[in-house]
Amino acid sequence: MRSARFRRTRRASAVALVSALTLTALAACGTSASNNGSGGSEGGGSSDPAAPLDPKTKVTLTIDCMPPAAKAAELKEWKEDVAEFNKKYPNVRIEGRSTPGQCLEPPRFTAMLKAHSQPDVFYTYFTDLPQVLDNSGAADITAYVNDKTVPLLKDIDPNVLASLKHDGKLYGLPTSNYTMGLLINRKLFQQAGLDPDNPPRTWDEVRAAAKKIAGLGHGIAGYGEYSAANTGGWHFTAQMYSRGGDIVDPTGKKAAFNNDIGRQVLQSLHAMRWEDDSMGKTQLLKWGDLQKQIATDKLGMFLAAPDDIAYMVQQLGAKYENFGMGPIPGEKNTLAGGNNYMIKNGISSDKIKAAIAWLNFKNLTVGKGQFDWARTKADKLPVGVPQPNFWLGESKKTDDASRRTNATMPVENFKTFMDNPVPGKAEPPKAQEIYKVLDNVMSGVLTNKDADIDKLLSTAEAQVDQVLANQ
């Protein structure tokens, strides 16, 4: 009988096979994980943190938010910059990671911090610092950043650097900053008989202009707002600021938007959405959606930072002459924010130096990297947008001059924005959590004709108080 051959040995080996499979599976994981963090320090740089990177140092840096393939021009510039950087530091390997969409999404970012899976150099919003520090995610780079490693340090707007400091220690280097204004579609303004050189300056004027633009028909909306993915709350905050309101009271413990200003914001949105029908039918929009609308001439205005224009030209194929900008309506305060890179806590000091050298070259050198306006122009990206601009003093003069000579955008389109600076106001503490709560307030008035504004505000107030108490 055939089966007589299969005796105990076979049985044992079968058992072994199944269990070995599990064991190997678990053991093999070891080979593919946790091998970062240690590589690279064999290059032998100086042990003094203040000294610049020794060009002989051999390190590999991982970095996120490299421009994705969709941003072809910026990706090309990134590669050129890496090549040029490598002329001076041939032993630093820059390993970029990219995401096609918004490269920082709060939930994914939170998960990444929890997992300590951020790359060596990681992109954050100014508002992320507390969360990063809670997870001890970023290295203190105070000792590494000085006028030798970042020569133009003294010319960087101290307000911008302040948002990257905690208890006097520096945790990041800025890439861009913004203050919000009113972005308009000049073509639709003209069609609606409005003056594109004089964007609305008050919220009442916004409402009137929106109504005219929506009157053009064909599904065109006059004014657009977000109401999802935290961006609704972000813009609610901007509107509160613009009317002189606040989100969190000075103690930082209580919500401060359940008041007349909060009601004005919502009533005006509700009126535009439901009485005037000037905000379009589609709501629950998030960052990226309004840009798509205005780029296809389906939207007249929305609150935006000037750097949105570069995004729209590059990824959405929009024409930059088509856009103009005014200060935020209301003009009491405007939301000021920005983006930056931080360096992962616990990586070697050579890596930190290499990271600072790269960030300095790419983002903090007038005439190089992101401030190489001649190249930006040659690559057909918009030049002449007023922000990002965190320079002061000599650097500002040089940079502004270069922007003007290479301008591809009619600078007068931004004249009202430039001539009427509105004081910037930083985002609230626990910003992303609060924004998430405030999304509901925005979606409430924009999707429900019978929305109960008082109830929306008081519910959000209770939730925000809870978020603030939970720190």
Partner: protein, 291 residues
């Protein structure tokens, strides 16, 4: 196919019955075609519209503009081949793990009946009642630092493969099927000295082909459909699955390019399905589940 169904053949043979049958048939065929192919047509055709037309109110049923460039742009931007390869790699890896470990477990629980087997089965089935999303947080923390071996599985395929083994429903299906394999058959083989492994391999598995087919489809489809877990555990863009990749793309490109990308992303499996539909359908419906 002359099996008797709900409506009697005699009734259908009558002229009135015939007319009614054909009317209902026509209505159903047209309605189903519209409901199931309509959206797909809409997707493929909207992909060639230009940026203006794709967001035009009212929409156009037949594209007026023709910009096939959307498709090539979508292809460049999306990196479909990487996404597809990743997804298949995870799906078939999970399948392999489930086929080996879950089949072995179901066989043991059904035929070898070890001590505590019932309790173990009970504990496995208990996991069925727990929504995956509830366990996402502790599971995520576990994957970050696997107890005892202290490994971080983030950004590795193990983060998909090993948790996929905890598929109690597949174990349940397999066990139920194995239960129905006649005991005499196995006893006879056992008398002849065949080891449990041998019995599993040459007796149980060959009769269980239908249920293995069903379980395999469930295993692959499970990974194919999953979104939240791979989004959290595979944050590195070069390791993402198709679903997560499309999701990240959705925000960064114009509507028409996005829709072209959706069309492209849908094509590979649609083609596989149309080619192998006979096998897949019969695999899914083969006796296994008649309960």
């Amino acid at each position: 196919m002359s099996t008797r169904t709900l409506i009697s053949p005699a009734q259908l043979a009558r002229p009135r019955g015939k007319a009614l049958y054909w009317t209902v048939f026509a209505v159903v065929v047209v309605a189903f075609t519209l409901v199931f192919l309509g959206p797909l047509y809409w997707m493929a055709s909207s992909g060639v519209k230009d940026a203006q037309e794709v967001v035009q109110t009212p929409p156009t049923l037949v594209p007026k503009s023709f910009t096939p460039g959307n498709y090539s742009r979508a292809w460049d931007v999306m990196g479909l081949s990487t996404l597809l390869f990743n997804t298949l790699f995870y799906a078939f890896g999970a399948l392999a793990f489930q086929l080996v470990l879950d089949v072995a477990a179901a066989y043991s629980l059904s035929k070898l009946r070890p001590v505590l087997g019932k309790a173990i089965l009970g504990m496995m089935l208990a996991t069925l009642m727990i929504p995956a999303t509830v366990l996402v947080v502790p599971q995520y923390l576990t994957v970050l630092d696997v107890p005892i071996v202290h490994r971080n599985l983030l950004n590795t395929p193990w983060a998909i493969w090993l948790p996929s083994v905890t598929n109690a429903f597949n174990i349940f299906l397999l066990k139920r099927f194995f239960d129905s394999v006649p005991k005499e058959l196995l006893d006879a083989a056992s008398m002849d000295g065949a080891s449990p492994m041998r019995i599993l391999w040459s007796i149980v598995l060959p009769i269980s082909r239908p249920i293995i087919g069903v379980v395999s489809i469930f295993a692959v489809v499970g990974v194919w459909k999953d979104f939240l877990w791979p989004m959290l555990t595979l944050p590195d863009p070069s390791k993402q699955t198709l679903n997560v990749g499309i999701y990240s793309l959705s925000n960064g490109v114009p509507v028409n390019v996005l829709i072209a990308a959706l069309t492209i992303a849908s094509l590979p499996t649609l083609i596989v399905f149309l080619v192998f539909q006979r096998n897949i359908m019969s695999g899914l419906t083969a006796g296994g589940l008649k309960g």
